[in-house]
């Protein structure tokens, strides 16, 4: 077991967890933030994407020890005071959601991009989302949604 300090969505936590736990397990099982999804466990699908210290990362590839002292943002943090963010609204408006399983990861990759680059080019959007697989939407509506959120 190891002790870690972690700030998730603005809240500090001190946790004692198994060494084998990944950041994904800490979020889902310890903190019950189940918006972050597991799709492959090998960093291919991006369903588990969260923002760690400002960067989009695969939470399935981060061990507890690596997450110590980190600041994490998850999909649950996007809606503030019961108001959806511009990015979330753009996903809804553009039909960028079908089954919704990849959506939390997509949103967090897009959010990390827009935080750093508020007006990205199409190429930059594609680069930011290249590590997020979607099997339903064919990506076109997702690309349009991020463009719309960046307007």
């Amino acid at each position: 077991m190891i002790k870690i300090k972690i700030n998730v969505n603005g809240k500090d936590h001190e946790l004692e967890v198994e060494d084998s736990m990944r950041l994904l397990d800490i979020l889902r099982d310890e903190l019950r933030l189940t918006g972050t999804k597991e799709g492959c466990a090998v960093g291919e699908c991006g369903a588990c994407t969260v923002i760690m210290n400002g960067n989009a990362v695969n939470s399935c590839l981060i061990l507890a020890t690596q997450a110590n002292n980190a600041t994490i943002k998850t999909v649950e943090n996007l809606e503030q005071d019961n108001v959806l963010s511009k990015l979330q609204n753009a996903f809804v408006d553009e039909g960028a959601i079908q089954c919704g399983f990849c959506t939390p990861g997509m949103l967090m990759s897009a959010k990390a991009l827009l935080d750093k680059t508020p007006h990205p080019t199409e190429e930059q959007i594609k680069e930011a989302l290249e590590g997020n697989l979607c099997r339903c939407t064919g990506y076109v509506p997702i690309l349009n949604a991020v463009k719309k959120a960046a307007e």
């Binding site: 084998s20 492959c40 690596q66 089954c99 919704g100 509506p141």
Partner: protein
């Protein structure tokens, strides 16, 4: 009419999906819940001689291990033929068979116990090719059925021999298509909960067809259907995939739940999913066709063998659609079609979006282009001549006169939108220039029967319930799979009752509350369920009307308008006020009116004669056409899809947003099926076991998609709507294949069109994944390598050093696995067994600096690729390093992965190596006893084996700043455009003096056993002018070098010529850069 129908309507379940609040199966956690694990077979085919659970039972927290003998009800299951086990008895038939199931207090302990169940086998020689299985002498896979042929559907029309004898041309072609994995992003999950009221079970999970699951679980458990209530959960994609496999998982969970009295959850990893879940059927198709000089089809004889894998499953239904549609949308006088579904010991195959149509359309639409070529007419002309028109007769003798036959319309609209004619000319000219790239444009068309057709009972249910305040519940016997059905059905209700969508709540379906509405398959959701919703809503509308008709002073409902939440007279009369819907509802409530209504819709009649394959197979059809605009890199065989235009006659668009979404998604899956998705199973062993070796398209792989929605309202459709989900996928393969033929002049008869297939004409087999090779060959760890039943991280301990000194101290004392970014190490840990101690150096700030001096740049071993890519000094001095690092993995990987990790892991495909070698980088290795430097080109000994000692850390990468000006070129080739394992890379640096090559460095990546310079080739170019001629002069010597080094490898047939091409292209790029 058209209050809300046809508009762009936002999904009603969007809110919970963008906030992370939607509850998917694995998000469910219940009090006292146990976790289940499955024990797969170790070999694909064999008799089980012994199962020993004694060690597994000792694992802490294991509550129950169940075997075949524990099954309380029906042991063998299946939709038509009961030939499959949820838990096998004494024989295994394919590599995804389950021998035992475990329930434990934690997931980890359940999995650990599954690992410790020891099974002994007497192996049986498997049959992995249906063309072998069909031979009379072949071993019977399921002897009780007396044949490996599961079914044979014939279709006979006219006189085939007469047709051939009257034809000017008779040609015969063989086509084949591969397995295709659904790859829904959510892996399968089921939770069973004891239900004390029914003395049965409630079942949650990723369930596509709740009523099927209910039936199968009831049979397996020996219970009545009313004792099993399927509640499902938000479904993370299905595409036909979460049917049979989910039913078996639900059986296992229910059994463990019964044996333990507790809720039990079984969630699969991606590896479990790829191993056990069924795929799309591979088809082997022989088409013999007779036609006249003008292109008129006279006779078509088709023989198809479908690989059903180990079980019959849905093969009965899938292949039936194929026999109906195999000739395509063409009127042919004489047809003879035979399709056989055959057992093998491969992964079993069943439903997948398209359902027996993508395979035959690939064949028959590729064939049409060939016929056009032989006759010297255009692909459009041959289709115009033979294609279905109003009143045409299909191969099964059905007269197409009850709906609008819009084949010509869909084709013409697609071709115009795609600018087909102009591109055809343009590309012809471009291709004549014989450049590296060839351009192609091609199209395909299809017709498709809607709903189940004559394959089975086709009826469905809906309930609409209006409350006293005018709010409304809708629920149906069909399922939301992500396609947007809830939104469409809510829209239909809102349209009929003239209310706001916000007034409607679509209830989560449960099998206990509504009659079996059949499966949500065959693109039947909208056309069948939509009608059921209309029937229910119309009933309520009439009941409310009867209450308020006096107020409105009308006699007939046709005299009223229901719109925007009010009910009013069509002819406005000033003294009669409109009535608000909620007021009408309230009045009806107090009048004692039943405001809940059942809608039941039976599909119009269809018919089928099994013996001759004749009849009215489906009650209506849809038509579609895809145009593919592509570019081929002839150096590598890589296909770039620039644009797909997709025209579909949907009858009537109900939700534009949803309809276009179906096209984008279906086309992208169709592209994946055609070009990159290559399910690798060899001798029954699944090699494509995760999404790093079963590749699906990324956002960078698919080009533009132009959806065209065409409306010809159908007499039987809800508001005239028909189907869309499946047609979107079925057409893409043939369109791309026809474009490829146009571009290269070479006809392909097989998909997927992988790099090797396009370049060589054959599809090479791939070996195991790179990361497994790393684990098995690793010099860094000395552990017993045992395949885990389910991959996961086990038994690790992590040490966080205070500082670098402390880290080195720790390393000097014991053997530790260094953890830096973790993007390789964490993946490898999932495969390892035994105890591992990791030294986490990710927090050491000292390793994260980039220091720039006049003479050198020093990059800390802990620097991430993102740090390196964004450093302007590195970009200025070492642009090749920037470019190479930017091709690594995905952005998420580059944000965590470190250069030190990439170097020390030393995969042959490590992308940072070619530039580091080219730029003469040195690695600084430090241990407690001192520091040493080693040059990049000497660091790797061979695959994954390096010069680093176990007590050393790579702390810096030092690269000298070049003193002169170098031109550079770097190419990386992968199967996709992102998140690749590099197939081949090439880095070149050249300096010039008086227009002659002065210095030349050529480094290969992912070619030899390690990244390395090819000095012999460099020498050839030095002191010469760099010209196309000098570039060509390296070809022969390079060929000899590669041939000597890797000539015997599986991949060399492809890698050798392609590396030569890439080297020449990279050198040519330098000429271009210099102008």
């Amino acid at each position: 009419m058209d209050n809300i129908i046809g508009k762009k309507v936002k999904r009603i379940d969007a809110y919970e999906k963008v906030t992370g609040k939607a509850i998917y199966g694995d998000d469910i956690k219940l009090v006292d819940m146990l976790y289940a694990a499955v024990r797969y077979t170790d070999i694909p085919v064999g008799k089980i001689t012994n199962i020993d659970c004694s060690e597994a039972k000792k694992v802490h927290g294991v509550v129950k291990i169940a075997l075949f003998k524990d099954i309380p009800g029906q042991q063998k299951l299946g939709p038509i033929r009961s030939d499959q086990y949820a838990i096998v008895e004494d024989e295994v038939f394919f590599s995804g068979d389950v021998i035992a199931i475990v329930a434990a207090e934690t997931k980890e302990n359940a999995l650990k116990a599954a690992d410790l169940i020891h099974v002994e086998y007497k192996p049986i020689k498997g049959i992995f090719d249906p063309r072998e299985a069909i031979k009379p002498e072949a071993r019977l896979i399921h002897p009780e059925y007396k044949s490996n042929v599961i079914l044979h559907y014939p279709l006979r029309k006219g006189n085939i021999e007469k047709g051939f004898s009257e034809s000017d041309h008779v040609i015969e072609r063989n086509y084949s298509t591969g397995f295709h994995e659904h790859a829904y992003i959510e892996p399968e999950t089921v939770t069973a909960v004891p239900d004390h009221t029914s003395k049965g079970f409630k079942i949650y999970g990723s369930i596509q067809n709740p009523f099927t699951t209910r039936k199968v679980v009831a049979l397996f458990m020996g219970l009545n259907m009313n004792q099993i209530n399927i509640l499902g959960s938000t479904l993370g994609g299905s595409f036909g995939g979460k049917d049979d496999i989910i039913n078996y998982m639900a059986c296992r969970c229910a059994l463990l739940s019964k044996l333990t009295g507790k809720p039990v959850k079984l969630t699969y990893t991606r590896e479990n999913s790829l191993k056990e879940s069924y795929k799309r059927h591979p088809y082997y198709m022989k088409y013999k066709v007779g036609f006249n000089n003008d292109g008129k089809l006279k006779a078509m004889k088709i023989n198809i063998i479908a690989d059903s894998g180990a079980y019959s499953s849905q093969t009965f239904f899938v292949t039936w659609r194929s026999v109906v549609q195999a000739t395509g949308p063409y009127e042919i006088e004489n047809v003879e079609t035979d399709i056989r579904g055959v057992y093998t010991n491969n992964t079993y195959t069943a439903a997948f979006r398209g359902f027996g149509s993508p395979q035959i359309i690939f064949a028959q639409e590729s064939l049409m282009d060939e016929i056009a070529e032989i006759c010297g007419i255009s692909p459009r002309e041959v289709r115009k001549l033979n294609g279905f028109k109003q009143g045409s007769i299909t191969a099964s003798g059905q007269i197409l006169n009850k709906h609008t036959v819009s084949l010509d319309e869909v084709i013409d609209k697609a071709l115009i939108k795609a600018d087909y004619k102009k591109k055809l000319e343009e590309y012809k000219k471009l291709n004549e220039q014989n450049g590296r790239y060839k351009y192609g444009i091609g199209f395909s068309c299809s017709y498709r029967g809607c709903a189940l057709g004559a394959e089975g009972t086709d009826a469905t249910s809906a309930i609409v319930s209006v409350q006293a305040d005018g709010s409304i519940y809708v629920f149906t016997g069909l399922n939301e799979n992500g396609q947007g059905m809830r939104t469409t059905f809510s829209q239909i209700t809102a349209e009929v009752l003239g209310t706001d969508l916000k007034k409607i709540v679509f209830l989560e379906p449960q099998t206990a509350t509504i009659t079996d509405g059949g499966p949500t398959v065959a693109s039947r959701g909208t056309i069948m369920g939509g009608n059921a919703v209309i029937i229910a809503a119309e009933k309520i509308k009439m009941r409310i009307f009867n209450i308020i008709k006096e107020d409105l002073q009308v006699n007939d409902i046709e005299e009223t308008i229901w719109k925007d939440g009010t009910i009013s007279r069509k002819d406005q009369v000033t003294n009669i006020k409109s009535i608000k819907f909620e007021d009408a509802a309230e009045k009806a409530y107090w009048a004692g009116e039943n405001l809940s209504a059942y809608g039941w819709y039976n599909a119009p009649d269809v018919s089928w004669d099994e013996k001759n394959g004749q009849g009215n197979a489906y009650f209506t059809y849809v038509y579609g056409s895809h145009v593919a605009d592509i570019r081929i890199d002839t150096s590598t065989g890589k296909i770039k899809v620039k644009n797909i235009t997709a025209a579909h006659d949907v009858g009537k668009v109900l939700n534009k947003l949803g309809a276009e979404g179906q096209i984008y998604g279906g086309v992208t899956q169709g592209f994946g099926y055609t070009v990159i998705e290559d399910y690798n199973i060899q001798d029954g062993v699944v090699k494509s076991d995760n999404l790093d070796n079963y590749l699906i398209p990324t956002i960078k792989d698919i080009g533009n998609i132009d959806p065209i929605l065409i409306e010809n309202e159908d007499v039987d459709g809800p508001f005239g709507a028909k189907s869309l989900g499946e047609p979107t996928l079925e057409l893409t393969s043939a369109a791309i294949n026809n474009a490829l033929k146009f571009a290269t002049g070479k006809q392909s008869y097989e998909i997927p069109l992988t790099l090797e297939k396009v370049f060589l004409g054959i599809n090479l087999k791939k070996p195991s994944r790179q990361s497994q090779v790393a684990t098995h060959d690793s010099c860094k760890t000395h552990v017993r390598v045992v395949d885990k039943q389910t991959l996961r991280i086990t038994d690790i301990k992590t040490i966080t050093p205070k500082n670098l000194k402390d880290a080195l101290e720790q390393l000097s004392k014991q053997e530790l696995q260094i953890l830096s970014g973790g993007t390789d190490v964490v993946i490898e840990l999932r495969m390892k067994t035994g105890e591992h101690t990791l030294l986490d150096i990710s927090h050491l700030e000292k390793l994260k600096n980039i220091k720039v001096t006049e003479n050198e740049i020093s990059i800390g071993g802990g620097c991430t690729f993102t740090q390196i890519i964004s450093n302007s000094d590195i970009k200025k001095h070492f642009p090749m390093l920037t470019k190479a690092c930017s091709t690594i993995g995905s952005l998420q990987i580059r944000n965590k992965g470190t250069i030190g990790g990439n170097i020390v892991n030393a995969a042959p495909c490590a992308d940072s190596f070619p530039p580091l070698i080219a730029y003469n980088a040195e690695f600084v290795l430090t241990s407690k006893n001192g520091t040493r430097k080693i040059s990049a080109d000497k660091f790797i000994i061979k695959n994954y084996k390096t010069q680093i000692n176990s007590d050393e850390i790579l702390i810096d990468v030092i690269i000298p700043v070049p003193k002169k000006n170098y031109e550079y070129s770097y190419f990386q080739l992968g199967r996709r455009n992102a998140v690749n394992i590099t197939r081949i890379s090439i880095g070149i640096l050249i300096s010039f003096e008086n227009n002659l090559v002065e210095e030349c460095v050529i480094v290969s990546g992912s070619l030899f056993h390690k990244p390395m310079r090819i000095k012999e080739i460099e020498q050839i170019l030095i002191d010469k002018e760099l010209t196309l001629q000098s570039i060509n002069s390296i070809e022969e010597p390079l060929k000899e070098i590669i041939d000597n080094a890797i000539g015997k490898r599986w991949s060399s047939a492809y890698k050798l010529p392609v590396f030569i091409n890439m080297t020449k292209d990279a050198l040519t790029e330098i000429i271009v850069q210099r102008g």
